[in-house]
Symmetry: C2
Subunit: 223 residues, 2 copies
């Protein structure tokens, strides 16, 4: 079913046309949508998607219940937007930081640093992404999986190159190795507390080092 409601595509057509004219007191359409999505993200991260009622989201975002449905046509669509934005931002950020880095070992360090850093800066969003993938269904679920798949492929490519360059004869399963890394990274939301624990950079360094030593079997600095 195709919605007749607005929900414009960001950074696409209609954007300039509408935004150029006037930036309201309450901000542009995208700004307001962002504000709402951020409020929703925080609430969902706190209580879970199932228990985050649209009424509670509305209260959190300081809009009326009906007002929410001006920005998306269903609760699931809202969750989809949250996940899509977070993941796109994660992947784009990573792609950008990888520019010019050719050594695969360094690429992995960059990838882990980018992930942990992005996590520390957007904890709620990444928590929602880690926890609520299966709350999406149908096409939205497929699309969310596709985004994850891109991220996996990117990382898997780095892992492959590390193996090929350093231990091409290794019998370790590269898929398993990659999933172990993702497990380590995606589990962060269960325990990492930036107030209590060490800095994201420190954590990232330890994770990188452990992973690299783990797959290479030896230190990559000297030894």
């Amino acid at each position: 079913m195709i919605s007749h409601r607005p929900e414009r595509l960001f950074e696409h057509e209609r954007h300039s046309e509408a935004a150029n004219r006037k930036s309201d007191i309450r901000g542009t359409y995208d700004e307001r949508l962002n504000r709402i999505l951020e409020a929703a993200t925080g609430l969902i991260a706190r209580v879970g998607y199932g228990r985050a009622s649209m009424r509670a989201v509305a209260k959190e975002a300081a809009v009326s219940l009906a007002g929410l449905y001006h920005y998306f046509d269903s609760k699931e669509r809202m969750l989809f937007l949250i996940q899509t934005r977070a993941f796109n931002s994660l992947v784009n950020n990573l792609r950008e930081k990888l520019l010019g880095v050719t050594d695969p070992v360094e690429q992995l360090r960059v990838m882990v640093r980018a992930h942990v850093g992005h996590f520390a800066a957007n904890m709620a969003a990444l928590k929602v992404c880690s926890h609520e993938l299966d709350s999406l269904t149908g096409a939205a679920h497929d699309e969310a999986r596709r985004l994850r798949r891109d991220y996996y492929d990117l990382t898997r490519g780095i892992v492959d190159r590390i193996y090929d360059e350093h231990t091409p004869e290794s019998t370790l399963d590269r898929h398993v190795a990659t999933m172990c890394l993702f497990g380590t990274l995606n589990w962060l939301y269960r325990w990492y507390d930036p107030k209590r624990d060490r800095s994201p950079t420190t954590i990232a360094n330890q994770i990188s080092s452990q992973f690299l030593h783990g797959v290479l079997g030896v230190s990559n600095r000297g030894c």
Copy 2:
């Protein structure tokens, strides 16, 4: 509020007293409770706790909706029982397998093998444990956390001993190392498919090796 419904305590008081007199009652009661909990576990693992309605659980377990409430006084209590049983079984199994193993490196191998093996044999239950901790509230939540804490302490002890014996001067954070391991293990439910992937033993070996190389920085076999 204290329930007046049955829900006997397993392996506690009442056990001998009741079991000696009429062993088949207790047996059948627990068997039936188990059957119900297993059905619920499978459903919750499939669709999530929030979307697993008591009506659906009842259908899955082939009992009436009201009949469920003969075994526990609330949905949350049901989830609590599922998690408690799975975790107790996990920890007891591990404690047993650790008997007589003194080398901490070997202890870690045993721990990982036990976890992966237990996971492969009880995927639904461990998936629920990994995913639905926060669906518990109040005292049940505290108790579930306590069980996890025991598991953490057990593992952390092994990690500590590995560090102390092999790299006492290492600056790696042992808490972070332990949480990375848990991340790797607890993320299994997101990707591991026993039909598609290698055997649990193979996976466990790779995880152990990677982790050990990771924290030791060198191979523990030769090198």
